[in-house]
Symmetry: C2
Subunit: 225 residues, 2 copies
């Protein structure tokens, strides 16, 4: 059954629109011996964004990403020259969209679309430009403007403020469980993007919809695909 | 150089006083085929405690631990009967102290000592009783009483409130980087317990002291070991 009364659709970026798996391919080139690096890097990137928000000591997502990489390198005992470190970090600026994303966004044309991400504006600008998605969006909403990271409610509040519409008329799409929980607790409508049928983190929320890829989104909003 | 003007010493529990590595031994008995289970379980336990606090939707640490285990089992496709699940969960109630801990706590006798943990009181009671440490402490301070998890400042505030002493006269000891950051941002004095020389998460804080085990603590407080 289509969702009704939706004024705008807002998307998480990393892992929802853009595929972060290419970071692992970059790692294999730059640091072929460091098998567990990307897993630890991303876990620490997530942890640091949560912790910095909880202790109210903000630095932007690029600084978080750098600190998490440096910790992962130190913990695994991987020596990397500055050029290699830069190559790994820059992978965040050159992510590819999931294959269905460009067509799905095109099919939603006419409706206001935005991204809402923990990434800094510079990171988002680079990644959305590289992936060719930037012109699909009328707003790039970044946690950096409120100096807290998702799932803090202040970040989700950017979406209804942008549109001057009630939170319940905004549909937020994310593949990340913590993001689904945060958006729903704030009061947005939420669509969980479960590629490959990955289970939703059991955080006490039930999304308004669950789809296997963004290709299902136009139909969910009552537009034939 | 010894730390001066310390009225009380407060300890994190899991990973600082009690060794959580025995959970992996239990896993090998109960679910020998599920190699990555404990790592994912603990990562999700940590993540859910952060997320539940950020979105202000508290459940206690036992419920967090159950949800994290169930997610890890589902994600890895591990089928476990209810008895096996209970055995894994109950490992949290039967952790052993790190070897130096009983003697280190005995050497601090005469000074008020407490634990400050994300664990629920029931979990802490069971684990401190099993490990034989309970009688060392004059207070068991649990995140459950403020319905938020560390590193939220409300949890650290329990320590000076318990003693009616300024935060800067309380020494907090933890092996966990997020906990070092949270305690220091709140205003406690902080000692990082770095067993095996593990690097401190780069969260912008510098602990007042770093020790390799709690055996160094009496000397740090100006008492010969």
């Amino acid at each position: 059954m289509p969702l009704t009364d939706i004024d705008a659709v807002v998307f998480d970026v990393y892992g929802t629109l853009l595929d972060v798996d290419s970071i692992e391919a970059r790692r294999r080139e730059v640091a072929p011996e460091a098998a567990g690096l990307v897993g630890l890097w991303r876990a620490k990137q997530l942890e640091y964004s949560f912790v910095r928000t909880l202790v109210d000591d903000y630095v932007d997502f690029w600084a978080i990403t750098e600190a998490a990489l440096d910790y992962a390198l130190a913990t695994l005992g991987v020596a990397l020259d500055p050029a290699g470190r830069t190559q790994l970090l820059d992978a965040w600026l050159a992510l590819e969209p999931f294959p269905e994303v460009p067509a799905a966004l095109a099919a939603l044309e006419g409706r206001p679309l935005a991204v809402l991400s923990n990434g800094s504006l510079a990171m988002l600008d680079a990644a959305l430009t590289h992936s060719g998605l930037k012109s699909s969006f009328s707003a790039v909403l970044s946690a950096d403007t409120v100096r807290r990271f998702k799932p803090h409610p202040a970040v989700y509040a950017l979406a209804p403020a942008w549109l001057r519409t009630p939170a319940a008329r905004v549909l937020f799409c994310s593949a990340n469980g913590f993001d689904v929980a945060g958006a729903q607790r704030f009061g947005l409508r939420v669509c969980h993007v479960s590629r490959g049928g990955t289970p939703l983190d059991p955080l006490g929320v039930e999304p308004d919809a669950t789809i296997r890829s963004l290709a299902e989104l136009p139909a969910l909003l009552g537009k034939g695909a």
